[in-house]
């Protein structure tokens, strides 16, 4: 086991960075030196002051992290903060190292059935403190906005403490980024008037956790837009944002569950369903033909994965749809599957596309009552519901004519056995090389998780291994190109080149030479299957209100006049 390496470069203590690193993407966290509470600020006096506030123990920082595991020393800085956060009795500190496996278990099994009751959780109970990953959102005034577990009201003083930490450090022209203890990592992210905090015992890297907080922030933006959030807080510093987010908690809960269980978020890439390229092309053509003015994206989804995506030509000219925006859309769909027959029309902001504006999303299932195939049409026109709904009618008709739904129903995620490499249990492959000049959607491909990773607990364990490999590969202090990692029950190999990023999982006794050999075979297989595994050339259409006569042929013109005609009926 290489578990000790988890601790590499991590020291117990508070880490503070100078203000220059604010607003940087999660990757650019500051350099850290091991075994030292790193405070980049020069004035030593204030530093000490801060340490005192947290009862940070100078003696702790000189200790290696390994020997601290069985120590219940209450002066441990991180644990102290966590304790404060939990408002719990100090004697409860010794939850012990075994705690490491229990949060895992819990994440896999307990969370899903108990979803509804999370708000009512007793925040003083041990079970609350043992959650694998807490996420809190608060306003700069210290008002609670969201908590993953427990009600915000019950946590208001806890969040007050968090805000006190943030502003204390801020008052010295600094920014608090994280707090480490042997069991928990506390990561802070400030975005505009919002403060996001993650308290995790998942052993993920700070960078990964900050990335996850960023997803939470983006999801909030997707519902309210950045502009309106800043406007609200400019007007009223202590506004209770929950008024506007009420009812959206499940969307955030759903996002956090996905972040934990779906590697798309880790890889910042979308996972599309493997599909014969002829079928994918015909679906794209169907979408391409059903257009109306101001339609900008047409997206077809099955089993929560992309089938195809068609985009407006001019809107997309120099921007592309970011994977994160797609993830937010998919999460919204998953969290709002109202009931089958309905057609949803809702404003939604794609924060990476434009954080200040709304698109209007039309969401409808094409195969009620099963509801596995979902159509998502995005328009820039608030009033376009009926015109966009008419596009769905056209798409439906064409899909009936081509028997598409039956073909889609047969589509399955693939099995790793199809690759034909023995001892290979699972992999995730994310290519960087784009086949055409249009910068296209970043994607990855991965087979279904099969035995021994068939239950939730094992799946989570494998994902955690991947997360660990990912954090090593992308370590800011010591990035790596290739890792061969022999774990207890499997062997993993991660490899990043200028062309791709690859994570593979083998049975435990595979040698390094053997694994590299297998990867060569795997890469060959992926190359061969490329057309099926990825959306190769995202198709486009033109729906600008006044299509220039240069646009090729009469086809799109005719389409437009039809739709205009329909609009005038309304």
């Amino acid at each position: 086991m290489e578990r000790d390496n988890h601790q590499e470069g991590e020291a117990d203590g508070v880490k503070i960075c100078g203000p220059t690193s604010d607003g940087n993407p999660p990757g650019k966290s500051c350099q850290r030196s091991p075994y030292l509470d790193q405070v980049t600020r020069p004035e030593a006096e204030k530093t000490e002051n801060f340490e005192c506030q947290n009862s940070v123990s100078g003696q702790q920082s000189t200790r290696g992290p390994e020997d601290a595991t069985h120590d219940n020393d209450q002066s441990d800085s991180g644990e102290f903060v966590v304790t404060m956060l939990a408002k719990a009795k100090l004697e409860e500190q010794g939850i012990g190292v075994e705690g490491r496996s229990s949060p895992l278990l819990e994440a896999g099994t307990l969370e899903s059935p108990a979803l509804a009751s999370h708000r009512d959780e007793d925040v003083t109970a041990d079970s609350w403190r043992q959650h694998r990953k807490h996420v809190f959102v608060l306003s700069e005034a210290g008002k609670p906005i969201y908590s993953r577990y427990g009600s915000e009201e019950a946590l208001s003083s806890t969040m007050g403490v968090m805000m006190a930490l943030v502003s204390f450090v801020q008052s010295g022209d600094n920014i608090i980024r994280s707090v480490y203890s042997e069991e928990h990592t506390v990561v802070f992210l400030q975005k505009g008037p919002l403060v996001l905090v993650c308290v995790s015992s998942s052993r993920q890297s700070e960078r990964q956790l900050r990335g996850e907080l960023l997803y939470v922030y983006y999801q909030i933006i997707s519902m309210l837009t950045q502009a309106s959030i800043s406007r609200i807080f400019e007007h009223k510093k202590n506004y209770d944002l929950r008024r506007l987010l009420a009812g959206s908690e499940k969307i955030l809960d759903g996002l956090l569950n996905l972040v934990d269980s779906d590697p798309s978020f880790l890889l910042a890439a979308v996972h599309c369903l493997p599909l014969a390229s002829s079928l994918r092309d015909s679906l794209s053509q169907i979408l391409q033909k059903a257009i109306t003015p101001n339609l900008v994206f047409s997206i077809l989804i099955a089993k929560n994965q992309l089938l195809t995506i068609v985009q407006e030509k001019t809107v997309i000219e120099d921007t592309r749809l970011e994977p994160a925006d797609v993830h937010l859309l998919l999460n919204l769909i998953g969290a709002s599957s109202a009931f089958q027959a309905g057609e949803i029309w809702t404003p939604i902001c794609l924060p990476l596309f434009n954080p200040d504006c709304y698109f209007y999303a039309y969401i409808s299932y094409l195969d009620p009552p099963e509801c596995t195939v979902c159509l998502l049409l995005l328009s820039t026109d608030k009033e376009a519901f009926y015109a966009v709904a008419e596009c769905k009618r056209k798409i439906e008709e064409a899909m009936v004519a081509q028997n598409s739904l039956n073909l889609i129903a047969k589509v399955q995620p693939y099995s790793v056995s199809q690759v034909g490499v023995s001892d290979l249990r699972h992999f995730m492959y994310k290519p960087f090389d784009v086949p055409d000049n249009f910068r296209q959607l970043t994607q990855f491909t991965s087979p279904e998780m099969e035995a021994p990773y068939s239950n939730e607990e094992e799946k989570m364990r494998l994902l955690d291994l991947y997360r660990y490999m990912h954090s090593r590969i992308h370590s800011t202090s010591r990035p790596l190109k290739l890792i061969y990692h022999v774990a207890e029950r499997e062997t993993l190999l991660a490899w990043v080149t200028s062309k791709f990023e690859l994570y593979t999982c083998f049975s435990p006794l595979v040698t390094k030479a053997c694994a590299i050999n297998a990867i060569t075979k795997l890469l060959r297989w992926i190359k061969k299957e490329e057309d099926r595994l990825f959306i190769r050339y995202p198709p486009k259409y033109s729906t600008t209100p006044n299509p220039s006569k240069t646009s090729r042929g009469g086809k799109s013109d005719q389409q437009d006049s039809t739709d205009n005609g329909f609009l005038s009926l309304l």
Binding site: G247, S248, G342, P347, S561, F566, L569
Partner: protein
């Protein structure tokens, strides 16, 4: 597209049960719903007529969309929760003004949902169309009604009268409050059909008038002229 003959809109605060009411009426069951985002459009076949129903989100986040959903509505159902007085107050404060874009002859219904929580009659009601399976599921959670009713029917009636005044409608020539205030339970199905059927009956004249108008209307119904799309669509611009 089956052209909707008439538009009905459901309005009300978060968690009063708008989606559940509609679900009970259309799917004959009660299940946990997720907070609606934006608005959801349903086309209900009612006899020979197509009625479009907009189930809107009660969340303040989507407030800005309300008047769009209400545009041209023939009926608006204002829903509150009988166990929550604030939900009635919200109707007046936040939702009534959204109906400014509705038809001038729009009819209004005031509906107190969740009656099963306070009223034994509503609690014991059984939806005859519900499958025994769904009912069994529902029975499990059935407890004695014991919550305090915060909104007496008289309050709903006086709210209805204030709506008429707000709209500048004459009380005598308008539909009487007794006919337009309901108490329902989406959970048991109590009064749900009564509500929707009564409302649809009342909008029937406006359906017929609209159909009539359409016959002499100069605009072209695309459904009727598929195939001749190009020529006819252009003519509609004139």
């Amino acid at each position: 597209m089956k052209k909707p003959d008439v538009k009905v809109v459901l309005l009300g605060d978060m968690n009063v049960g708008k989606t559940s009411l509609l679900h009970r009426y259309t799917e004959r069951k009660f299940k946990d719903t997720i907070s609606t985002v934006g608005g959801a459009f349903y086309l209900k076949q009612w006899g020979p007529y197509n009625i479009s129903i907009w189930d809107t989100a009660g969340r303040e986040q989507f407030h800005g969309l309300g008047s769009m959903y209400c545009r041209g509505a023939a009926a608006v159902i204002l829903i509150y929760d009988v166990t929550n007085w604030q939900s009635l107050a919200e109707l007046e404060e936040r939702f009534l003004s959204l109906t400014d874009t509705a038809n001038h002859d729009c009819i209004y219904a005031v509906v107190g949902n969740k009656a099963d929580l306070t009223d034994p009659k509503a609690q014991q009601f059984q939806d005859p169309d519900e499958t025994s399976e769904d009912r069994a599921e529902c029975e499990e959670g059935r407890t004695e009604p014991q919550l305090h009713k915060q909104v007496p029917p008289e309050d709903a009636v006086s709210f209805y009268e204030r709506i008429l005044r707000y709209k500048g409608l004459d009380e005598k020539s308008s539909l009487p409050a007794g006919k337009m205030c309901f108490e329902t339970s989406a959970k048991t199905g109590y009064n749900v059909d009564t509500l929707f059927e009564a409302l649809f009956d009342l909008v029937l004249p406006s359906i017929l008038r609209k159909r009539n108008e359409n016959q002499v209307s100069p605009t072209v119904d695309l459904e009727e002229c598929r195939g001749a799309n190009n020529k006819r669509a252009r003519s509609s611009c004139c």
